[in-house]
Structures are given as structure tokens and as C-alpha cells.
């Protein structure tokens, strides 16, 4: 049976014609049986022989095994292996569902050139049951496509093209729907509208896991059209369809078994991180508690009206292909000359480059591709490698950009110093990609600023058995050292059960969390993104985390033990934008470690790190200078008093004069020399003028305003 492994390693069939396929398979089996029939007597003889020799007869024969060998539907495969798609536990299932829906919505809006506005609505319908509704203001979906998009796995527009998008495989949202049906039996409900004058289409869909086909439940298997008038509105009202009245857009509602928890790896965190990397998106979010009136709808307002540049679809780049791929492409391109083939199949290959390649390979530019044999192909492949070809065009990737990175990070992560670095695009396996790094320094840990009622809720919701576990798993950047410090300060036992704490204990804990200085015990908070989608799980398996840990942050003024994340109040955001992000699994949780990617990551991190180092060195100097001045100031009063006691000089006048001398003394050190008495590198003074750097003015501990000032852009 023909099994074609697809790129993502799933035994998938495109263009399935299930009935025919199965018929064909059955015919195959029959034919095989007929062929095998001749051997049957031999087999039996063998069997007898074996028996007479005292051996047992075979448990199953090739024939009996063949009877049970059959096609595996993609849907069945994923229904059994739901963890591959991110549905391993109820909490993650809820997140994955929302994530897939939001990602699709954002992709659709951006592709249509609409500034995205997303409504996310999570409602608890029973113990461990949630109804998730996600609506966008996208272009809407054509009626006949709706069931396929939401009810069929591996159906989509994004797999076959080389273009940057959030979704890639066409699995996500249909898998979420399938999970919902599997766990609650409730169908997936879709409303989509493409223009204000046209009717909205309403579908209730179940996925047939055996056939990997949608099964439409409403409107006698045809879906329902809701007219754009009063009658339509009444219909919506009557049938309890959830829909925010807009001109065009799509809403998907899935009911599923899930669990709502805040903290790390939560829905809230996903939306917050999405807002950082997508400053052009407006998100309305109702968490399960807003339904019961406990919290208001949360709004993540967009900070820019500028849509990201539209990424273009591209052809593969010669540096990225493999020999086998080249051979396949050659055999596909019949009837072309080599020169035509090279220029039309690859990006950045002009006819001049093509002839140079052919020359190096020792084949004529006019040779027909049909005549290119294995040897020539190999030579051609080598020649492609050796020839200098411009890197792939980068308009297929739309990076966030340094300015928006700074804006996004500054809006969500409090800090005093921000730096962003967007690397030039690079290529791995023929896929262009681009690495962006943004870093925020000096923010308080989330544990420091958690409000009391939120802490109470978090404690109530947590799965963690002990308080220590609760602290380290709930808050980012809070290591076990810091947790121990907090627990010690709160005078509680680390083994206290987190969910059974008395109100007085919670109060003590809250107090301790506010007071303990976590700056030193904090580990770097790494926010990972792939095509603007936050990656919240499997940090250890991800190339980003690995590269962050492999970078020597000590030379940039942070402390770090070998092979681990640096410590300090640092949040780092790393974004990989690519036409094809190499995930380690279908659940899209970690980026695979290609050397090209790791190299770019390293360079990006170093570039941000260098600027952080400059800032930290300067900060240290300013601090030392401040301390110095402070020491002088402290003693000036005593000196002035003593002197005026001795010679009756005017104490106040003397004090002020001495103060002037003190300022002059420390100011000259500020201006020209660093702490070692060397001339300060002018580049360090330039830090302020660097557009990729944002420094937030903050009074220092002595109340003397530092001269540092932000100029990246206006901050409000």
C-alpha cells in the first residue's frame, strides 16, 4: 500500500476519495490473495512439517494479517495521538483550541489586509467543560469551504506555499473541533459572513474521524443561511447563536473538556504574549469569570494601525535544496532548457547566474531538463552550491521590526531599558527566515506585583501540591532560590499545601512576595515566538532556549551559571519569522535546532546583549558615581559644622561651597572617564541615540534624576 510520508511526518493523503480508495485497497488485497493462493499448499505443508517437528503452527499468516491491514485516517491517527497536536491535558486543550482559532483569524485578517480585531470568549458550561468562541473581523469564508476548513484535518491553503503565516499544516482548528466533539459530543459551530449585504452562513459540524470528512448537522446537511436583515437577527436570537454584529468575519464556537488556570502556560498569558508580538491587533477577551460578573472584559488595545508588510510567496532558494529535491524538480519541469528551469524554479537565479551555474557544472544552458541525468544533476547541485547567489528575497517574511518590538515589549513588560535587534534574513534548507530579539531589563518580577485577590484565585486554582511548587510554576522568572526566599520571609513551610492556605497565611505570603527583592534570584524570562505566535511549552526542546542558554551573558553584565539561563530582571523576546518554521512536533511548541537558525539566534542575542552590557556598565558607573557623591554629601555637613565650630566660619556658606566642589568632582568623572579612569568609548554615549534602544527615565535611589532618556520613540 502506498504510504507517502508528507513533510510533517504524518501519513497523510491529499485528495482523498475514500470510497474509491477503500475499494481499490480491497481489490488489491483480493488480487494479492489470488496470487498467494498458489503458495498456500506449500504453506500448509510447511505448517504440517513444523507441527510434526514439534513446532507450533504460526499464530497469524500473511493472509490473515493482510485482512487487518488497512488505511489509517489522519483523523483517527490524531484522535489517538492528540498530544501531538497539543491536546495532552484539559488545560492545554483549552489553550490550544483558542490559540488555533486566534492564529487562523489573524492569518485571515492579515492576508485580506484588514486590521485584526478578535473577540475571545471563554465560558464555563459545566465542571471541566468550556465553551470557546473566537470571532474575527476577517474576510469571511465561502460557504462551500466552511465545512472542509473546520471539519477536515490537513485541509488548508498554507501548506503548499512558501509564505510566512502562523498556521502551516491545516490541522489546528479542525483538530480542536474534533477534540471538542470527542470530549463533549457537541458540534463545532461556525458563523461566517463575507459582506454586510450577503447572508451569514451558519454550520454545525462534526468531523467523521474514520473518513476525515466533515458531517454537517444543521439545515439537513446543507447548513443554514442567515439573511442580513431583521429576520436573520431574530433567527440568531432564537437559536442562541453567538455572533458579534459585524460586516464581515468568522466565528467559531467549540465546546470542549478543559480546565481554566491562570499563570504560566495559560490562555491569559497566550493573549498577553500575542499582544506583544502583534501590536496591530485588538483583542477583546472574556475569561470564564467575566461571565459570572467577577471580571470585566479585558481589552488588549493595538498600539499601531500599521499592518505588517504583506509577506509574498516565494520560490525555493538554491542554497536550501537537496539533491533529491533538485532531481524531482528537474523531472517535473519537462520541456524546459536548463537556463529556463533554473530561472523559473528558484528565487534569485537570473539568466546570468544560471549560465554561470551551467558553466561550473559543465553542462549547456540549452540542455533540455529531460536529458539531465543523475550525474549531471549532481554536478548541477554542486555548482549551485558553489556559485554566489544573492540571499532569497525577504519580502516573503514580515518581521515585527525593531520599533514595534520595543513598543510591544514596553507596553506589556515594565522595565528601564529596552533593546531590539532584527537580524537580516538568512536561509535554512532553502527557507528564508529572520530572527528578531528584543530585551527588557529592570522590570519587577510578576510575583512582585501580583494583586492580593489574584493571588488568592491563583492559590485556589493551582494544581501544585506544595507552596514552593506553586511559586515556581505560576510565576515566570521565579526560580527555586527566589521561592525559598519568599517562603522564608513569609515564615511558612515550603511544604505548605498551596490550595489549603489560611487567609492569614495568604496575607503573609502576599506581603513577602511584595517585599522580597527578587532581582538577584530571578532568572531570565524567555518569550519565544514563531511567526508572531507565542510558544508556551517545551522550552527546553526549543532552539531558542538552547541558544539563550548557550550564549555567554556574563560578558554582558548578567550572572549566569554554565549551561543555564542567566539571572536578573531580564525579559527576552525572540521571534523567528519564516516561510516555514521547523517545529519539533505538530503541536508547534518548539523550534528545531538547525545550525543556520542557531547561528542567527546567537548573533541576534549577542547584538542585544552587547547593548545591554553597555547599559549595565553605564548603570553601574552611574550608581557608583551616585554612591560616591552620596558619601561626600553625607560627610560634608559634619565637616562644615566642625570647621565653623573651630573658626566661626559661616557654616551654611561653607556647606554650599563644599557641595559645589563635590558636584564638580563627581561630574567630571561622569563626563570623561569610566571607573578605571579610561576614556569612555563614544559608542556608549551613543546608546541614547540608537533607535533600537529605549531607556525609561527612572529616579535613582538617591532621588537624583539621571540624565538617561528614552528617544526610541515617545512612550506614554
Amino acid at each position: 500500500m502506498a504510504k507517502q510520508p508528507s513533510k510533517n511526518g504524518v501519513h497523510a493523503e491529499r485528495a482523498p476519495k475514500p470510497k474509491n480508495r477503500i475499494a481499490a485497497a480491497e481489490a488489491d488485497i483480493e488480487a494479492a490473495e489470488a496470487e498467494d493462493h498458489a503458495d498456500e499448499s506449500v504453506g500448509e505443508e510447511n505448517g504440517k512439517e513444523a507441527a510434526s517437528n514439534g513446532r507450533k503452527p504460526r499464530r497469524a499468516t500473511a493472509q490473515s494479517m493482510a485482512a487487518s491491514q488497512r488505511d489509517i485516517s489522519v483523523s483517527e491517527f490524531f484522535a489517538k495521538n492528540r498530544h501531538l497536536l497539543g491536546f495532552d491535558n484539559p488545560r492545554k486543550a483549552l489553550l490550544t483550541t483558542i490559540k488555533e482559532a486566534v492564529d487562523n483569524s489573524l492569518d485571515a485578517c492579515e492576508e485580506a489586509g484588514i486590521l485584526p480585531e478578535i473577540w475571545v470568549h471563554v465560558e464555563q458550561t459545566g465542571t471541566n467543560r468550556f465553551k470557546v468562541g473566537v470571532q474575527d473581523n476577517g474576510p469571511g469564508i465561502l460557504k462551500k469551504q466552511i465545512p472542509l476548513i473546520f471539519g477536515k484535518l490537513l485541509y488548508g491553503s498554507k501548506f503548499h506555499r512558501l509564505r510566512m503565516s502562523r498556521g502551516q499544516q491545516g490541522i489546528g482548528i479542525s483538530a480542536a473541533g474534533m477534540y471538542g466533539v470527542l470530549t463533549t459530543g457537541k458540534p463545532v459551530k461556525i458563523v461566517s459572513k463575507i459582506s454586510p449585504k450577503k447572508p451569514a452562513h451558519y454550520y454545525e459540524i462534526k468531523i467523521d474521524t474514520k473518513k476525515n470528512l466533515p458531517e454537517i448537522l444543521n439545515g439537513k446537511g446543507e447548513g443554514v443561511d442567515i439573511p442580513p436583515n431583521e429576520a436573520g437577527r431574530q433567527y440568531i436570537e432564537k437559536h442562541g447563536i453567538e455572533w458579534v454584529e459585524i460586516d464581515h468575519g468568522t466565528r467559531v464556537t467549540i465546546e470542549l473538556e478543559g480546565k481554566y488556570l491562570r499563570g504560566r502556560g495559560s490562555v491569559d498569558e497566550y493573549l498577553e504574549q500575542t499582544a506583544i508580538a502583534n501590536p496591530h491587533v485588538r483583542i477583546h477577551y472574556q475569561d470564564p469569570e467575566s461571565g459570572s460578573g467577577q471580571t470585566e472584559e479585558k481589552l488588549y488595545e493595538r498600539s499601531t494601525d500599521q499592518l505588517p508588510r504583506e509577506p509574498k510567496e516565494i520560490k525555493p532558494h538554491p542554497y536550501g535544496i537537496e539533491l533529491g529535491m533538485l532531481v524531482a524538480m528537474l523531472s517535473d519541469a519537462r520541456g524546459l532548457t536548463l537556463s529556463q528551469f533554473l530561472t523559473s524554479s528558484f528565487s534569485k537565479v537570473s539568466s546570468a547566474v544560471a549560465s554561470k551555474v551551467c558553466q561550473t557544472a559543465g553542462v549547456g544552458t540549452r540542455t533540455s531538463t529531460a536529458k539531465v541525468g543523475r550525474n549531471e544533476a549532481d554536478k548541477l547541485f554542486q555548482a549551485l552550491r558553489e556559485t554566489r547567489i544573492a540571499p532569497p528575497s525577504t519580502d516573503c517574511i514580515s518581521p515585527i521590526g525593531e520599533e514595534l518590538l520595543l513598543k510591544g515589549l514596553h507596553q506589556v513588560v515594565p522595565g528601564e531599558f529596552y533593546v531590539a535587534a532584527t537580524r537580516p534574513p538568512a536561509v535554512y534548507r532553502g527557507n528564508p527566515f529572520q530572527i528578531e530579539v528584543a530585551l527588557a531589563y529592570g522590570g519587577m518580577s510578576s510575583a512582585n506585583k501580583v494583586p492580593f485577590d489574584v493571588l488568592e484565585d491563583l492559590l485556589e486554582e493551582t494544581d501544585a501540591r506544595t507552596l514552593r511548587q506553586f511559586l515556581t510554576t505560576t510565576f515566570y522568572g521565579l526560580g527555586s532560590d527566589a521561592a525559598d526566599q519568599i517562603i522564608k520571609e513569609a515564615d511558612l513551610s515550603p511544604r505548605t499545601s498551596a490550595s489549603k492556605m489560611k487567609p492569614a497565611e495568604v496575607k503573609k505570603l502576599h506581603e513577602a512576595m511584595r517585599n522580597v527583592n527578587l532581582e538577584s534570584g530571578q532568572t531570565m524570562n524567555v518569550l519565544r515566538y514563531a511567526n508572531r505566535v507565542p510558544l508556551q511549552f517545551q522550552p527546553a526542546a526549543c532552539a531558542i532556549t538552547q541558544t539563550v542558554m548557550g550564549t555567554n551573558w556574563r560578558s554582558y553584565g548578567l550572572s549566569q551559571s554554565r549551561g543555564s539561563l542567566p539571572t536578573g530582571p531580564v525579559t527576552i523576546m525572540v521571534h523567528m519569522a519564516s516561510v516555514w518554521v521547523p517545529f519539533t512536533s505538530e503541536s508547534k511548541e518548539a523550534i528545531a535546532s538547525y545550525p543556520e537558525i542557531q547561528k542567527e539566534l546567537r548573533l541576534g542575542l549577542q547584538s542585544a546583549g552587547r547593548k545591554l552590557g553597555m547599559y549595565l556598565r553605564r548603570r553601574l558607573k552611574v550608581k557608583q558615581e551616585g554612591e560616591r557623591r552620596n558619601i561626600f554629601l553625607r560627610y560634608l555637613g559634619e565637616v562644615a559644622t566642625a570647621v565653623s565650630d573651630i573658626n566661626n566660619a559661616d557654616r551654611k556658606k561653607l556647606y554650599e561651597q563644599l557641595l559645589l566642589v563635590a558636584k564638580k568632582k563627581t561630574a567630571t568623572a561622569d563626563a570623561k572617564f569610566n571607573e578605571r579612569g579610561e576614556f569612555v568609548d563614544p559608542a556608549e554615549i551613543e546608546l541614547e541615540k540608537d533607535p533600537s534602544v529605549l531607556i525609561v527615565e527612572k529616579p535613582n535611589e538617591f532621588g537624583i534624576k539621571e540624565k538617561a532618556k528614552g528617544n526610541g520613540q515617545e512612550t506614554s
Binding site: 560634608l636 559634619e638 570647621v643
Partner: protein, 387 residues
């Protein structure tokens, strides 16, 4: 030391205000020095310069052995102490506090102990929890600094140290108006005050022929009990280990004014050698006062390294030398004032060879009064001493 050139004599009505107190000439001189010190700071601040104090260095490297005068003298090196220097800012402030404290004492005509001044000046700096002085050692060193800076002695700053050291013998003296007969002082003796300047202590009648200075109180008591001073007609003193400046000044005055030779009976260890060295040449710390304290003619009577064998002492009295002792002994042997004295080199060498030290009390193993009845008289009679 040359007097600091006076730059300005600015507004100075401090003396006028406290006219009620009778200022001696010495006090007036000290006050003038203090005021000129303060005036210089005002001038520096006015000119936007960072103020500083030049303090003569009280270190071994800044000490010279004057061969003709046979005592230690201070060199001309000085350390600059700046207000606007991180490591010196606090000490600078403390120095001025000491100066102002001393000014107050002089103005009010009072004296106080080192500890008293420490408490007088100790307070927390305005707006902080930091204390002006953390402990007395800080103020003590700064007082010494100010002494050398102002070229004034401690008593001129109206400060005194605690009494340490006693004396007994056929001499009468007047201490702040009180007649004292040192031959009738009972078992405790006359406690030597820290200020024995002629204004305070005047000598009366003296029949003693020499001075025997012993290291510490216990030995001194043995000699006093045995009435050694009576039988040998001498003055008996001790300094409680390293003699304080009051004792040294007293010995100096007795030696120079009454022409009494000084003999020292000290332990046979580096410490004893050093005490002798201080009495004879002056100390490194107080080198600037050597001329008023050093007694270059003082003799070292014992205990000698060879006494273990000569007096046939029991092996139990040996105290093994430790590493610091050995190090110290070698340092002392290298002092320029010991370096060229062969008997001293032999003496120290012998001790190092012995590998043990001997205390004066060890002689008691022979007999309780061996030291007063046999050892010391024999040494004196044989004139067996080191110079």
C-alpha cells in the same frame, strides 16, 4: 617640624567669647594652630578646590634613627588626606571632628580621656544611621594624627590616657599641688599619671641613686615587697608592659633632671626587647615625641638568653617560641639601632637558638626572692648589662 605657614588669620573671635577661662600660652598656640587649620579649609572651599590635610606619616618607612642623638626621629613624609576621596572622606571628617572637640576642651579649660573624647564626638550623621566613630580605636588613631599634624602633644590638646604604671622609691614630688612621698606608698605605689609635665608634677627631694624599671606589675610587687628600693636605694617603676607615654615621660624627666641611670629588667622575649627599644630610642608611632621621651642611656639588665644555663633554671620554665616570636625577633635584630651592636645580635641569636623564651617570673623557680636577692644585685654589681 617646621610650623605650617599661616595663610590667613581670618575672623577669630573664639578666644574673646570664652574669655572667662584662663588660657596658658601653650593653649593659645594650640588654638592658633587649630584655627589656621580650619581657615585653610574655608579658603579652599571658597576657591572651589578640594580641601586636604597633610599628615606626617607615622610609619616605619618615615622613621629615621638619629645616630648622634641616639633616638628615633620622624622623617618628612606625609600623607595627604582629602575630603573628596572615597576612601578618605570619612577619616577626613573624623579628623576635623577631633580638632573641633579639642578646641572645645581648650575653650572650656577642661581635659578628658581618649574615651571621653570618643563619646564627646560620637553621634549619628544627620540623615543616616551611620555613626561618626564606630569604635574608640578610630578616634585614638586620629588623635595621634592630629597631634603630629598640629605638632602638639596630646596634653596640649587637653587629652590624657588612663594611668598605667607605678613607682616607689626615696623621692618626694608634688602632683597638682599635693605633696607625695614615694617611699610611703604602701604596697600599691604611686600611680604615674598620664600627664607628668612640669606644670603638673614637680620633683622634691630625691636620694635615689638609680632607677630600676621592670616590665610589669607582678614583678614590681615582688621587688616592692622585698623592699629592694630601700636596700639598694633606687626608684622602682613599672609600665604595665609597653610603658605608656606618662611613664616614659616620667622616666625621662627623672633621668634627665635628677641624673639617675635607668636599668630595665624585662622578659627574655621579642616583646621585652621591644619595650627596651621603645624606652631607649622611642617608638615608631610616637617618633615625633622621642626627643622628649627617649632615654638613650637606658640599660638592659635581663633576663638574658644565657640565664637559663647560668642560673640553672628548671626546664619547666621554658616557653617555646612561636612563629610570630621568631619573625618579630628577626625584625628587631634588623632595626638599625640594634643592627650594629654585636652583643645584641648575639643575644637575639642565642634566644633563637634556644628556641624558648624566659619570663622574669621564671626566676621564682629557684627561690621566691631569687630575683631581688641574688639575680638583680649580682647583675648590677658585675655591671653585666646590655646597652
Amino acid at each position: 617640624m617646621a610650623k605650617r605657614p599661616r595663610k590667613t588669620v581670618a575672623t577669630n573671635n573664639g578666644d574673646a567669647k570664652k574669655a572667662a577661662v584662663n588660657l596658658s600660652d601653650r593653649d593659645k598656640k594650640t588654638l592658633r594652630d587649630l584655627v589656621s587649620l580650619a581657615d585653610r579649609i574655608v579658603l579652599d572651599a571658597d576657591k572651589k578646590r578640594d580641601p586636604y590635610l597633610d599628615i606626617p606619616a607615622r610609619t616605619l618607612s618615615n622613621i629615621k634613627y638619629n645616630k648622634t642623638k641616639r633616638f628615633l626621629e620622624m622623617g618628612s613624609n606625609s600623607n595627604r588626606r582629602q575630603l573628596f576621596n572615597l576612601s578618605q572622606a570619612k577619616v577626613y571628617m573624623q579628623s576635623l571632628l577631633v580638632a573641633s572637640g579639642s578646641k572645645r576642651l581648650i575653650d572650656e579649660g577642661k581635659t578628658t580621656s581618649l574615651r571621653g573624647l570618643y563619646y564627646m564626638l560620637k553621634h549619628s550623621i544627620e540623615g543616616t544611621k551611620e555613626e561618626t566613630f564606630d569604635d574608640q580605636t578610630q578616634s585614638d588613631t586620629i588623635i595621634e594624627d592630629m597631634e603630629v599634624t598640629l605638632n602638639s602633644m596630646r596634653e596640649e590638646l587637653h587629652l590624657y590616657a588612663k594611668n598605667a604604671g607605678s613607682m616607689v622609691g626615696p623621692i618626694t614630688l608634688t602632683d597638682t599641688g599635693d605633696e607625695i612621698d614615694c617611699s610611703r606608698m604602701g604596697s600599691g605605689g604611686y600611680s604615674i599619671p598620664s600627664i607628668v609635665e612640669p606644670e603638673v608634677v614637680q620633683f622634691g627631694k630625691c636620694t635615689a641613686k638609680f632607677i630600676l624599671h621592670v616590665e610589669k606589675d607582678t614583678v614590681w610587687r615582688r621587688f616592692n615587697e622585698d623592699k629592694f628600693w630601700k636596700t639598694h636605694n633606687c626608684i622602682l617603676t613599672h609600665g604595665g608592659g609597653q610603658p605608656p607615654r606618662g611613664v616614659r615621660r616620667m622616666l625621662y624627666r627623672l633621668h634627665n633632671e635628677l641624673k639617675l641611670p635607668v636599668y630595665c629588667l624585662l622578659d627574655n622575649d621579642p616583646w621585652g626587647y621591644y619595650i627596651y627599644s621603645v624606652l631607649k630610642q622611642g617608638s615608631i608611632n610616637l617618633a615625633y615625641e622621642s626627643k622628649r621621651m627617649a632615654i638613650p642611656d637606658a640599660k638592659f639588665l635581663g633576663i638574658r638568653s644565657r640565664d637559663y644555663e647560668r642560673c640553672e633554671l628548671s626546664p619547666s620554665v621554658k616557653i617555646n617560641l612561636n612563629d610570630t616570636d621568631i619573625k618579630r625577633a628577626k625584625q628587631i635584630a634588623a632595626y638599625p639601632w640594634f643592627e650594629h651592636k654585636k652583643p645584641w645580635q648575639k643575644e637575639i641569636e642565642q634566644m633563637l637558638k634556644n628556641g624558648f623564651k624566659l619570663e622574669v617570673e621564671s626566676l621564682i623557680s629557684k627561690d621566691i626572692s631569687y630575683v631581688t636577692e641574688v639575680y638583680t644585685p649580682e647583675r648590677l654589681k658585675e655591671q653585666d648589662w646590655l646597652d
